[in-house]
Symmetry: D3
Subunit: 133 residues, 6 copies
Amino acid sequence: MSVVPLVEYDDAAPEVRAVYDDIMATRGTDWINNFWKALAHDPVLLRRTWESVKEVMAPGALDPLTKEMIYVAVSATNNCEYCIRSHTTAARAKGMSDQMLMEVLSVVGMANETNRLANGLQVPVDEAFLGKD
Amino acid sequence: MSVVPLVEYDDAAPEVRAVYDDIMATRGTDWINNFWKALAHDPVLLRRTWESVKEVMAPGALDPLTKEMIYVAVSATNNCEYCIRSHTTAARAKGMSDQMLMEVLSVVGMANETNRLANGLQVPVDEAFLGKD
Amino acid sequence: MSVVPLVEYDDAAPEVRAVYDDIMATRGTDWINNFWKALAHDPVLLRRTWESVKEVMAPGALDPLTKEMIYVAVSATNNCEYCIRSHTTAARAKGMSDQMLMEVLSVVGMANETNRLANGLQVPVDEAFLGKD
Amino acid sequence: MSVVPLVEYDDAAPEVRAVYDDIMATRGTDWINNFWKALAHDPVLLRRTWESVKEVMAPGALDPLTKEMIYVAVSATNNCEYCIRSHTTAARAKGMSDQMLMEVLSVVGMANETNRLANGLQVPVDEAFLGKD
Amino acid sequence: MSVVPLVEYDDAAPEVRAVYDDIMATRGTDWINNFWKALAHDPVLLRRTWESVKEVMAPGALDPLTKEMIYVAVSATNNCEYCIRSHTTAARAKGMSDQMLMEVLSVVGMANETNRLANGLQVPVDEAFLGKD
Amino acid sequence: MSVVPLVEYDDAAPEVRAVYDDIMATRGTDWINNFWKALAHDPVLLRRTWESVKEVMAPGALDPLTKEMIYVAVSATNNCEYCIRSHTTAARAKGMSDQMLMEVLSVVGMANETNRLANGLQVPVDEAFLGKD
């Protein structure tokens, strides 16, 4: 069970329903996942988070699949089970194969390892990496 | 200064030079960045880390640029300055524009935010996200 | 199940019972939550942790409710389920409404996002923020 | 130096200037700190982040000072120097004394400690903490 | 259930079986734990990770028990339940008593606390700690 | 510069001097490192932290060198520069060779890697790892 009650569509205030409707329309689905139902306890937080996610995950200089895989990578690093499960599902729906997932996680594992080697050894940044501005 | 002395090529033992040579040959460069010079203090760690990074970052189901952007995403999440600087440089060399970088970081920021919202609210995972195995 | 056995009051050594008694007296309750029962496996760790928590969470320049909300904020950032659940309960007992909780988590989410944007972009600290000592 | 160039007001595009103007008007200041100048490299990210921060940090069920202290607590947990410095400065401007800061950090320290004790021992959550929904 | 199917020995490809056989031979056991069965979905990742773990955890300047306790310490800091459980089990098999575990976690807790105090206060590093290289 | 002024011995209140004296006596040194000088801004925090560190790091079921290496491992995982530098120095003073440090960091790197592989794949914990209580 979550820390606050989940808000179901039928019980939702109009401003919450409006967000739910936009989520379903944008995604072409007919259901709302629990994350939004928990956020709905604060309609301002719900609306802001949804608008931000929608904007961030839209096609841009990066395609939506690449963005989803980056989302998975961060969620695995932070160990957020909900986010790992939901964004792995979303990435698969956008075309991520199991082999691609294993490679995402291979990079995540390696980066988490070398991040700590660089930290632990306090390696000074090379001049060549400090080029801009 | 780093926690252990950096090992320069001219002072390096043969097994360290062999790794340095392979790094330069693989990357088509004529210099070694400080990360490897610090690891070289333990030739077994140097060799294993380099062989692993080379294998992980090679083209596969994901292209090398996507892998570098995931590396940047994890390093920004963990706040490893060395890794942020070196892998941002590497990603740019492989074609990442500034706009692409800003979008990587936009996803990183959003994922770090929603990871904590999902954690803090202890949102239960939807059945639909628990499909496989 | 926990990694070490939970120590129940009836089975506890005198120095553990003394801490349990102080926890119940300080909190005005008649039960001990599992965290302390696990720590009790090492009476020195139990006593030190309890004495520290009691001192830190007492009224001071900050009131106990503010301190509990900060505890929730850190626990959500670190994704410690036990701590999220126990300190959210404690904060509610001290007056935190659901709306206050949602605002705590809104700040937590935003801070986790901008922390990574500042890291990823390696933004230099402004002189104006470096005033003291 | 940052990873992307800082965008100064005089060089900024109109949509960036509009955000800068709103930041200065909202805060009653006549300068822009580096964080926004780095984000400005992506005007959409700049606008979204500013609008979100403005909304989150406004008075609500929590007062702005409490919100700033929570921001400091998360930033100290994540070790984001820029955010620690900027939000400590902001919290002081809103009335945080040095003693209050020390108590914020005392709670942050204790929470980071007990988060790991609870994790490391895998303490099961008490029924009493699982009340709602 | 895991995000990818677990690969059982009987269903495994020859290169996966070869790694499984080496795990069992090295450890003197007749079963494979789930971690490797999940990695086996990508035989290259499986082989690299196993070879690396085998090399890192072998006796060296540090004995295997000390290495296992460090593994537990990192896993508790990162809150990886799987790793906490598996490496606590492994450390016990190598001689870690419950009192030793409690002391490992006591240090982990204290380090996580003082890490944040040092970060939050931005304490400058003493000259005396910057001796080498 | 730190976020609060460092408190030098000559300017310290009696209760701060008493802690400083105990630090120097316990360590057999004639100086105080900056961490304590920053904490001294809150004498209660200073005393509690010192008493806790002294108790945790004393010889017990684990020897002081092993404890220092675990401190380094956690600090490298969390990327606390101050703590990495000070505890690496302390561990060396207690007998840690450079090779031992490299092996500590090798385990830290590997643990940080496999922690994320286990998280990202959501590997279920084996029954064999769930034995006690």
